[in-house]
Symmetry: D2
Subunit: 359 residues, 4 copies
């Protein structure tokens, strides 16, 4: 079969002819790729940046990609809850199941995780084989392009709803500040609206007007240009919230200024989810901004296996929510044209690029 | 001033001329009644049923009513966060502040609670005086009729979001079964929709088609006639939820059959809120329906002081939600015509009756 | 090898020569039984009571038993976190891993569960083979007899700490009422003491003075004879708790009177765990005892996989706790003498019976 | 009456004759001081350091002190749950009751807080008057010296049990790392032991061997000298916890190295409470140490009003716990000798100094 592969320890991917994967274990599920979408991680690997150089396994070549909608074509004898013909997506983290984290409802931060499309073959091909546990059965009539977006949408949902929250710390009726309007930050806007947020504030980097524009279209009540408003942001947000500040801060930018502004805009006893990737150590006044404020701060990695997916199944039943999510698909290409999509991402013209399968 | 009062230990209310209340304590807030609505409790007191005969204080006469939207006209010297001219509603439970429950974030189930309009004068008059703590400042442009509905809406919101829930047990993306379509059951439908529920099932008593019709208009995905479907309800609900059953049961009926059916329709490890009033002891198979099912069951009394109100402030910012809530106001009368409204409730033609003020 | 087997659909077990189990799957773990203990479930199967007649699979004969301490002798090629020589115990519920419950941190109430020693071969033999997931690695120096008790101890710990609790609803500094002094009720006493309970009340059935005596030795602050005190119990408990009642009720008896008394003794907003098995439908005043009380009630089944085990690992590090737990081992026999142990249980002279292995 | 007062905006306190306070409001409670203890805050005010210069109100002179055990001598007419003769301690934060935080179970971080002994008269005198809400009724037979320690003990308990935790994130059976052995860090050791911690690691600054010695006496399983072990601490801790790291980090030092080491020693998905005061902005690798680790981090301010006090009432029922707490009282003087006590603290020879009353 054909596949988009990382073949060398340098910039680039290439399309290769490779062996079709087979059902080898009792719990294996084989599926045909119907749609794939491109993740920031794929872009990092293509660019071969510092992160990729450090992270990529020696075992190159491998098939890239992990955001997918597909159809099951074969199952192993021990598969229980998936059938041939089922429409599925894929949880890209393969957990060991028996480490300390896996045994305490933290499988998404398993100490022995392998990621499909990074540590082993992914889904930018014609077929893929994964364990039943990693196969997520979609509603049969869900658009495969939306099904494929569940990977980043899951990051958004998990950031919005980290584990262990009490009802008070939920989203219903709360004011929310989303710092950073990348794909996942943008997705968070309809997510928190769907969960009953009162007012949603979104801030973004400034040059990229398209993203702030999109934030507005997705339902943000106030969009803040970080380049122009800068340190005035906390005051603007507090003024719009009876002087209290927001209840929830979703840090999606990996920018220390945004983090500081967000924490200043947070109400006493508010909560914070940190998803953004900070490229190096950061400096801030933890005493004023976290400790004496009585803040609750959650580091976010991946998405919960599989409570986050269950929440996604529920919210994807809403036509209104599907409509919002579709807006984020700014480009759609054939897999053979993958490079075109990658360049749109590289030049920050694309939010999400969806690819139709080979053939 | 004029007021609708309970004057005798028998059926009925009457309009009387009575002394206008005064600011006596430093933390007192005096307000003009702009709108009042009639609660089921008012109806019980009017009918003077078994509950009322047992519950009413000897200190009759008193002013009835506790659902209200008003405007502050005077404040005591120790009032901090309320000003003259503020638009307010009222939390009707006056808590002692220092008992075991009050000192552990359970002020709504204070052991020394007094209820305005039951244990002391209420708001079916021209003015009322309450402590600052019981005064809830509304957004200034909120329709006073909707402001008044926050009392029963608060019961709905608290039933939907009891304290101590983890995110998994929230509403976002969950399937919800609402057993009972009285005013609070009906209000719960737009509430859970607002909080991101996946599918909402609502069941009701059967004869009263108006309520099941209303449930549909408020957004229920499936409406079940308990009279006709009866014991088939659990199967119907499971069939519509991939065989899993619902994640959340809101028991709003006080009917043991509805409780049993709801518990049968609940998924393993699901959660239940009990708000409905059961007139006497009930019998059911607790072993099968709660214990081995690993269910979490929450008894609901009142509404949280004041987290529930904070959630309401947030969701009332949504025009869509306001629109749904308004549908429940089926009748609007002058306070002088209170008896007309009461009869509409008595004959089950009204859902909520809103009253405009004297003069 | 030899094994104690259920061989017929009638009362009794018998020792048989049977095939030693083998490592067949990649994730299989084979272990030598060092110690086994007898569970109430084993007793039910031996008696062949109504529950057993309904529950036992047609596939008789099978090896009974599921409480065990053993030593790993062989592992399959896909085993990651267990090695030959490791000391292990066994989680007796084999979950499917991919149903709705398994995918939402409720693996212990999996819809496709199979139980070792009931639905398939157990551990009353010389060797057993189980998936790595079901093998729980013990501290190497833990007494195998205590290791074996982790199965019922896990029920106790899970009853004490059901999922989703907030800190307020924890045990530290709380007053706790344990209704029922069977083996698991008794185990709960040192567990809640270990977790920082303030006062512990324990009630028991009356005739069996040994159990109430044991409750006292295990640290209960007040022991209540349900036969003698009866309906005075709620008042006695409230008097000893500043009139507030207990914060936590652990229902371990399956007796409706005990449930009612416990709920009456509960403070407003308190919490309840239900573990006891009620033989049929029960009747009680749910309105007064749960709803208006604002109680939180948790049905308990099994033990969490594997957070409960992780908690047990921690508390078993305490010598003081081990000392208390050992008191519950009232009888110790050879596996060949299993019938002697069973009769001690049958005649209610034994609390826990531990068996040393064949040979 | 006599009182130890802050009389000038410079270093020092002095004993003055001042007016005995009176019951002025309906909810006032007047009490006789039986015992007072000296807090780090008192020491800061005495030294008149940078914090004190910034924080102290212009309204000098005022009576210092807020850690107290006393006896009620008079109550106002609206006091409900306190009587003359009751033994009480004092919650030193006077909250407004109606701000956003007060209305959402976060009264301890009220936006309008005033602190007794800082913003208004404290308890280093013969009598004091406070609202009923701030009076905490002790068990009548509790040693007043221990009663007085409930103020810092409350900080410890609140750090150990911040709000909103699920059972998994509790203390029972968990491994805990306490970074910093000041009075509150030391108090945390018997607290977490009382709550069922598995292993307790405590680290301290190095020069002060007395404190590390005390940590051991209070039950720490491993004591780490930060001066000597430094960056080896994370590895030492992981080695002692099966390679997993600790479940809970209590940051009590306000030292960035200790914070970094503690976060490195934390297991994936573990939780952190931050109580230590960091004198300025800090720098650390938030990405590795919080975000990708999936850590939950809680800023801690004060103690919960009044759930923390309720937990303290419970654990103070244990003689064993009282015994441990008493060890921390290293010095006991008369109020007239306050300066002697203060100097012992200043020279770091004292852990807690308790003062007996004037006369």
């Amino acid at each position: 079969m054909q596949a988009i592969m990382k073949t060398k320890q340098e910039k680039g991917f290439e399309i290769k002819e490779t062996k079709e994967p087979e059902v080898l274990h009792g719990t294996d599920v084989k599926f045909k790729i119907d749609v794939a979408s491109i993740c920031g991680t794929d872009h990092h690997m293509w660019v071969y940046d510092a992160w990729a150089q450090k992270r990529l396994p020696p075992a190159i070549p491998f098939i890239a990609g992990h955001e997918v909608g597909g159809t099951v074509v074969e199952i192993g004898p021990d598969v229980i809850n998936i059938e041939v013909g089922d429409k599925i997506s894929m949880e890209c983290h393969e957990a060991c199941g028996t480490c300390y984290q896996c045994r305490s409802d933290r499988m998404h931060i398993c100490r022995n995780t392998k990621i499909f499309g990074v540590d082993k073959n992914g889904i930018f091909g014609e077929y893929a084989v994964i364990p039943e546990l990693n196969a997520w059965k979609n509603d049969p009539d869900l658009d495969p392009a939306l099904a494929s977006l569940q990977d980043p949408l899951g990051n958004a949902v998990h950031t919005v709803l980290p584990k262990g929250l009490t009802a008070d710390e939920g989203i219903a009726g709360k004011n929310v500040f989303i710092a950073g309007c990348g794909p996942i930050g943008l997705m968070s806007i309809p997510v928190v609206k769907m969960f009953g947020a009162a007012q949603v504030f979104a801030s973004g980097g400034g040059r990229n007007m398209q993203r702030l524009e999109m934030a507005k279209q997705l339902g943000a009540d106030m969009v803040l240009n970080a380049r122009e408003e800068g340190d005035k942001i906390p005051r603007i947000v507090r003024d719009a919230t009876d002087g209290n500040g927001v209840d929830v801060l979703l840090e999606m930018s990996g920018n220390v200024h945004a983090l500081r502004q967000g924490l200043e805009a947070l109400t006493y006893g508010g909560r914070v989810s940190l998803l953004g990737f900070f490229p190096g150590p950061i400096e801030f006044d933890i005493n004023t901004l976290m400790v004496s404020k009585g803040a609750s701060v959650y580091g976010i990695a991946g998405r919960r296996m599989f409570q986050t997916w269950q929440v996604m199944r529920g919210i994807l039943k809403s036509n209104e929510f599907q409509k919002q999510l579709k807006k984020l698909i700014t480009h759609r290409v054939q897999m053979t044209e993958w490079e075109k999509g990658m360049i749109e991402i590289d030049e920050k013209r694309a939010i999400k690029v969806v690819m139709d399968p080979f053939k």
